[in-house]
Amino acid sequence: MPKRRTFIAVLLIFLVAQLLSACVAKSTVSSVDTQNQVEKEVEKEVEKEVNTNEESKEDNENNVYYSFVDALENTVVLEEEPSRVVSLVGSYAETWLLAGGELIGVTNDVITERKLDLSEDIQIVGTIKDPNLEVILDLSPDFVLLSPDIESHVKAASTLEKANIPHGFFKVEHFEDYLNMLDICTDITGNKELYDKNGLQVQKQIDEILAKVENEKGPDILFIRAMSRGAKAKYDDNMACKILEDLGTINIAAKHESLLEDLSMELIIQEDPEYIFVVTMGDSEKAINALKEGIEKDPAWSSLTAVKNDNYIVLPKELFHYKPNARWGESYEYMAKILYPEIFQ
């Protein structure tokens, strides 16, 4: 049938044309673009890398102020101490401030999520998911903080690269990540005492808590994150779950990975965890109480031990969803008090 032949011919022509132009394009595109398009399998061991790499304040050869390796394994070089810093992630803005730095531009989640009180001079550069590149460039920043998990950040990086604006990717999920980021930030700002105060002291606090429960066998728990799209059980790569794990609990989602995708009532009843923790985006007391009432009235949920013993607990999102940064110790404490009331008054 002539139609089919023509279709195949056309397809082949375009396939060849595309292959050729792809080869040409590949060789002319900058290396940053190639990196940005690689899968986002980010090393969790970045902290080890950072510690073994140059953190020298003075590089005799090039007179560079500071350089480090960021979360995407790019070497970030700061020629001078940055004074015009923009953060595209609210949590990183807070960390930068905790390191004694100053900001000229932030994304609006700094206000909506973190409720930080910022001076009016600081420019809002858009949302965390969609930062406005023009506004950022207009500020003439000399250092930008980004996240490798957000596509618009990855795209922005290629432009920042071309514009010779130093920028660093940070990935913070657990306390160690925060600590490492604080380390780098305080290196840059030169306020190492803040590393001690906002970092090492918190570490100490956490270590003390964990020491007290070292030999305890923790209860079975289930952790759920409830968003407008739906609720999912969380296990591995989640900050709250790590806290729970450190405190000796057993997450039933570890035994049943299917729970991560689909909250199966059957499995939950079968496992009957002692505690059920929920983190929601809801703010008001009313919404949270409404949620609890609904659960208590639901025949399936109300049959669970955790609900009967009033161990169905809605956690504050500031401590268990958004990165608590310097309050990480508080998060551990909050949870420890719930799990081991005898030990922690």
Binding site: K3, D33, N108, E134
Partner: protein, 345 residues
């Protein structure tokens, strides 16, 4: 228009010699608009400064950075997407004899979107093939829609219905892929609505090639499209190979739409509105309709993009939303005004 009762825009465009005036005016208009668009943004940059910045090419000048890395790529992307989508719509409306045909009703959008998402989910390293994938996806969807419509009588209603059915089905498949692979490189919401934020010249280089190629072919064949409009039998009698030509035009429409989708996401309504508006200005002769569609489409998209950037600065509304806001009411107007769905009397 009421100020100059003797002067009718329509007559001015619709001259005997075939609307050359229309073309010239549209060309001048687009140059004006490009100049305006590049100077407007979160900050106004006067045209003189733009020219100086481009001349000196100082990487460290923030004016140059903004112009070169943000505004120019966006402007080029908007022009390309605007003209290719509206020409695609014009082709589909003419060839399928259906005034409600447009890339997103006929299945091109969903087909292109599906394959693009599939590639980013399973072959993220091959994102260079996104334009080709979008093209193939678009073409296959159009073919399926066309075949189904033919089987059911090829009336304008059956075409729209089968387009909707096929689009929904493919959309469901796309959603499934996105749900199971939430880490797909393409940010779901942004892609589905469509926008130009973060676009770079590298990203649009290859699709641009396809678009220009397809536009040239369409322009050359625009007279044949006129003959096709006489009806299959008359056209065949005049020596036209109707089947093959129609297939070629569908392929070009799919290529144009698919290429635009690969960097702009699923933009709606340009393909529907602009051909109608152009027809109002220059009539049905495709030799003039196609170029005017291209120009008007670019102008419309540019204007929507400026609005998207400026309305709530520094926050950006995706262009697709603005287009739908304007396109939706017009679509309803079309449905009411049109007695039958036929393009030709």
């Amino acid at each position: 228009m009421s100020i100059w009762p003797k002067f009718s825009i329509r007559k001015f465009f619709n001259k005997n010699s075939g609307s050359y005036n229309g073309l010239v005016i549209a060309l001048l208009l687009i140059l004006l608009i490009i100049a305006a668009v590049v100077s407007i943004g979160s900050s106004k940059i006067p045209v003189r400064e733009i020219i100086t910045a481009l001349y000196h090419r100082d990487i460290n000048s923030k004016t140059y950075q903004i112009i070169n890395f943000v505004r120019i790529p966006r402007t080029v992307a908007a022009i390309l997407a605007g003209c290719s989508l509206s020409v695609s719509g014009a082709i589909l409306q003419s060839v399928l004899n259906n005034s409600l045909a447009s890339p997103n009703i006929i299945g091109v959008n969903s087909g292109a979107g599906f394959l693009t998402v599939l590639i980013s989910a399973f072959f993220p390293a091959s994102l260079y093939f996104a334009p080709l994938a979008a093209f193939i996806g678009g073409l296959m969807a159009v073919l399926i829609v066309f075949l189904i419509a033919q089987k059911t009588g090829a009336s304008r209603m059956s075409l729209v219905l089968s387009g909707i059915a096929v689009s929904s089905f493919i959309g469901a498949m796309t959603d499934t892929v996105l749900t199971l692979n939430p880490d797909s490189a393409i940010d779901r919401a942004v892609f589905l609505i469509g926008g130009f934020s973060g676009v770079t010249m590298e990203r649009i280089a290859i699709p641009a090639g396809f678009i220009v190629l397809a536009l040239l072919i369409v322009l050359v064949l625009s007279y044949d499209m006129n003959v096709l409009a006489l009806g299959d039998e008359t056209a065949k009698s005049l020596g036209l190979t109707v089947g093959r030509l129609r297939f070629l035009f569908l392929g070009l429409a799919a290529l144009l739409a698919g290429s635009a989708i690969s960097f702009a996401g699923l933009l709606g309504f340009v393909g529907l509105i602009v051909p109608h508006a152009s027809r109002f200005l220059v009539g049905y002769d495709n030799r003039f309709l196609i170029p005017v569609c291209a120009l008007l489409g670019s102008i419309f998209t540019l204007c929507c993009d400026v609005l998207a950037r400026v309305l709530f600065a520094p926050f950006e509304i995706p262009v697709g939303i603005i287009m739908s806001f304007l396109g939706g009411p017009f679509f309803i107007y079309l449905l009411i005004k049109r007695k039958k769905g036929k393009l030709y009397g």
